[in-house]
């Protein structure tokens, strides 16, 4: 088995499993006032501190959510509602067109139901937003912008965005900038304080933590309107009883991922480079997606387009050989659509159908790379003979 879909989810770290299973046996609602409650609360706060430290944030800036999708929704919708409430003129939302669906669909929803005008920022062939483009968009009318949202690193093609440069631009106009850092966390340095972001999304199961837990890093001057109303937990912006075992395990995984980041970039990045070399050797016409420069892309991401092939066919053939990867595009009922990310980078729609994303992670080995090196040539040949249906 070669599991090369860590960007979808990566195996939980043994340390995180240990912490989580231990916590599952402990009783206590972190909002309760008695000893059991205080014990649970202590676990939560220690976890919050650990997570904040791993992200260059203050503990009070960590708002736990049920995962990346919820954090993205809270940031995008909540900040939009808050900014519009403060000034009804602010209805313009600036977003990169390569966002994850958790952002893209939230933004789209605001346009459909909340009177937002969505403006997609131009990206280059690597899917990167340039600060000038953001400035141009803002300067068309700085007073009507509710927020901007640009992901830290792309989940499909791995391109890293110049977050700090973008934040410098939004700061000039006092516009909050949100970044979905789900893929970046644990792979590249992510420092919330240094980033200049107003809000930032991270997720547990992408860094070796459990599913169903994530966080929105939220600058203390920002108070998004809640999506979930209830008991007032998490600065009153995210109600709901805290999932103590998941919080503790997330923090453990996040801490370890941050500690191992250099190792990850070197070792896993090295394996990724070997994989790219092997695929290109076997299939010279394969096109590497995203930024070819190491500094510009996630160390664990290798994204390819195979001309004349259907991504579905490639996936099926590799799956049959025990190689698990992704076509990298969004699915509805399992039906692949040409990726919006590739289309945004100007890729021909037919070409965009033949994509594969290999994403490595902390359990990846040389053997995984060798399995791909062996299989990919014949698989591409066969998929090409099946053509585009």
């Amino acid at each position: 088995m070669a599991y090369l879909d860590h960007a979808a989810t990566t195996p939980m770290l043994p340390e995180a499993v240990e912490v989580m299973t231990a916590q599952l046996a402990v009783t206590g609602n972190a909002s309760s006032l008695h000893a059991a409650g205080r014990r649970a609360r202590r676990t939560v706060e220690e976890s919050r501190e650990a997570l904040a430290e791993s992200l260059g944030a203050r503990p009070s800036e960590v708002v736990f959510t049920s995962g990346g999708t919820e954090a993205d929704n809270l940031a995008v919708k909540g900040l939009y509602w808050a900014r519009r409430a403060a000034d009804p003129a602010r209805t313009r939302v600036l977003a990169s067109p390569v966002e994850h669906h958790a952002v893209l669909d939230a933004v789209h929803w605001l346009a459909e139901h909340e009177g937002a005008t969505v403006e997609y920022l131009p990206v280059d062939a690597h899917g990167r937003v340039h600060a000038d483009a953001l400035r141009d968009a803002i300067e068309r009318n700085p007073h009507d912008v509710a927020l901007a949202t640009v992901m830290w690193a792309n989940n499909e093609i791995g391109t890293i965005q110049p977050v700090r440069e973008l934040a410098d631009v939004t700061a000039e106009f006092a516009i909050p900038l949100h970044a979905d850092a789900v893929q970046a966390y644990g792979q590249v340095p992510v420092d919330f304080a240094a980033s200049g972001l107003a809000a930032m999304t991270v997720s547990g199961h992408k860094v070796g933590g459990p599913y169903g837990i994530g966080a929105l890093l939220l600058g203390r001057e920002h108070t998004p309107v809640p999506v979930l109303h209830g008991g007032g937990q998490e600065r009153h912006v995210r109600s709901g009883t805290l999932d103590v075992p998941a919080v503790a395990a997330f923090a453990t995984a996040g801490r370890i991922a941050a500690e191992q980041r250099d190792w990850f970039a070197r070792e896993i990045g090295g394996l990724r480079d070997a994989l790219v070399t092997a695929v290109r050797a076997a299939v010279p016409e394969a096109i590497l997606g995203g930024d070819p420069a190491s500094a510009g892309r996630l160390p664990a991401n290798a994204h390819f387009t195979f001309p004349g092939c259907e991504g579905d066919s490639l996936l099926l053939l590799l799956d049959a050989q025990g190689i698990e990867c992704s076509t990298g595009s969004a699915c509805t009922a399992g039906v692949a659509q040409p990726s919006h990310v590739l289309l945004a980078t100007g890729t021909d729609p037919d070409l965009a159908r033949g994509t594969l994303r290999f994403s490595l992670g902390h359990t990846s080995t040389k053997a995984d790379v060798e399995a791909v090196a062996q299989a990919i040539g014949p698989v591409v040949e066969r998929a090409r003979s099946a053509g585009l249906s």
Partner: protein, 372 residues
């Protein structure tokens, strides 16, 4: 031709219904290396199944996936919506517009399941496509593959497979038709195998017409086009909102105010898209003595001279004796007894006993009564 000496790599088309699920399970149990595929045929699938619609909702896709889980085979969804729209839906609309009566299920088998899907399967290294159709493939002593009616005649679906040619048949697997199986037994078997689709109702309607309202579907695409309903003498009896909405042999829904002179019911005899006229008349005028059919497809060697066959003219129609001859790739068919409800666009499938000989698309018909 399928090798008989080794397990095959089989692609099972799984609609989410009980038949295709049991078919896939049987193929897997027989030792074949089976992969399940659900065909996404609608670009905008509805979330939930409504009525007796066949296979195109997300719920159906999930049912197919759950069946594959239970059988223990890999499962994927393949998007053939574009091909389906072009080859089946648009063809369906165009045929009605031209005054003919198409059978989209037949077209789907010919162009999608045993063409687009089969071609892709073969290219990807599969040996065969397996479906839940009730029909039998019988291997003759000389090694030829023949298509036969299912043993449960009430469930026989060989008619909609009559379009398959040699090459398509060579890679077709119908695990439900090969044994003495009734639908009730298939449901019991699904239950035994733990397949949750065991109790799912049969599908009858055209899968891409969600509410079963074919007229409404056609009207939405072709628009209203008022024209005359006339009798055989050309006397106007009423008006219609589009000739495409009628089928030869149709009795209900004509909405003619005045009764016929003889008091007997009137039927649609002819649909003329050119002058947008629907002709009605008595049942006796429906009697067809002969027809010509085009685009013949043969399950094996084409007949070399006139022969006597039984013919089936509709998916759930009975058999009727005919003599048929192939002249210039056009099939000339004479009915031993006059047949009714024969409409251009329908497929005629010829049988020799239970064996499917071939099929063709009805182009023209000749009636007993003159005039139409």
């Amino acid at each position: 031709m399928l090798p008989a000496d080794r397990p095959l790599r089989v692609l099972a088309a799984m609609s989410g219904g009980v038949d295709s699920a049991v078919a896939a399970a049987r193929a897997a149990e027989a030792g074949h290396d089976v992969t399940g595929v659900h065909l996404a045929l609608s670009a905008n699938p509805q979330s939930f199944r409504t009525g007796a619609r066949g296979c195109c909702t997300i719920e159906d896709s999930r049912d197919a996936r759950r069946a594959a889980d239970v059988i223990g085979i890999p499962f994927y969804v393949w998007d053939l919506a574009d091909r389906f729209r072009e080859d089946v839906v648009e063809d369906f609309v165009a045929e009605y517009e031209a005054g003919r009566t198409p059978n989209p299920c037949l077209r789907c088998n010919e162009k999608i399941k045993f063409a687009a899907l089969l071609d892709k399967a073969l290219a990807l290294g599969f040996d065969a496509v397996c479906t839940g159709h009730y029909a039998q493939v019988i291997l003759t002593e000389s090694g030829e593959r023949e298509l036969h009616r299912a043993s449960d005649m009430a469930k026989d679906q060989s008619y909609v497979l009559g379009v398959l040619d040699d090459r398509q048949l060579a890679h077709a697997m119908f695990p439900l038709g090969d044994t003495e199986t009734t639908k009730e037994e298939i449901r019991a078997e699904a239950e035994r195998r733990g397949l949750a689709v065991a109790k799912k109702p049969d599908s009858h309607d055209i899968c891409f017409i969600a509410d079963g309202d074919t007229q409404g579907f056609l009207a939405a695409r072709l628009g209203k086009s008022e024209g005359d309903i006339v009798d055989e003498q050309g006397t106007k009896l009423g008006t219609h909102e589009g000739a495409y909405g009628y089928t030869i042999g149709q009795r209900k829904g004509l909405r003619i105010g005045t009764p016929a002179a003889d008091g007997k019911p009137r039927y649609v005899l002819d649909i003329s898209p050119v002058n947008n006229t629907v002709t009605v008349g008595p049942a006796t005028s429906l009697d067809v003595t002969s027809l010509t059919a085009i685009k013949p497809r043969w399950c094996g060697t084409p007949p070399s001279g006139p022969g006597t066959y039984t013919a089936q003219l509709r998916a759930h129609g009975g058999e009727t004796e005919v003599t048929a001859d192939l002249l210039n790739n056009e099939l000339h068919v004479h009915f031993t007894e006059p047949a009714r409800g024969v409409a251009p666009g329908q497929a005629i499938v010829l049988y020799d006993g239970t064996r499917v000989v071939g099929s063709a698309t009805i182009a023209t018909t000749e009636r007993v009564a003159a005039g139409v």
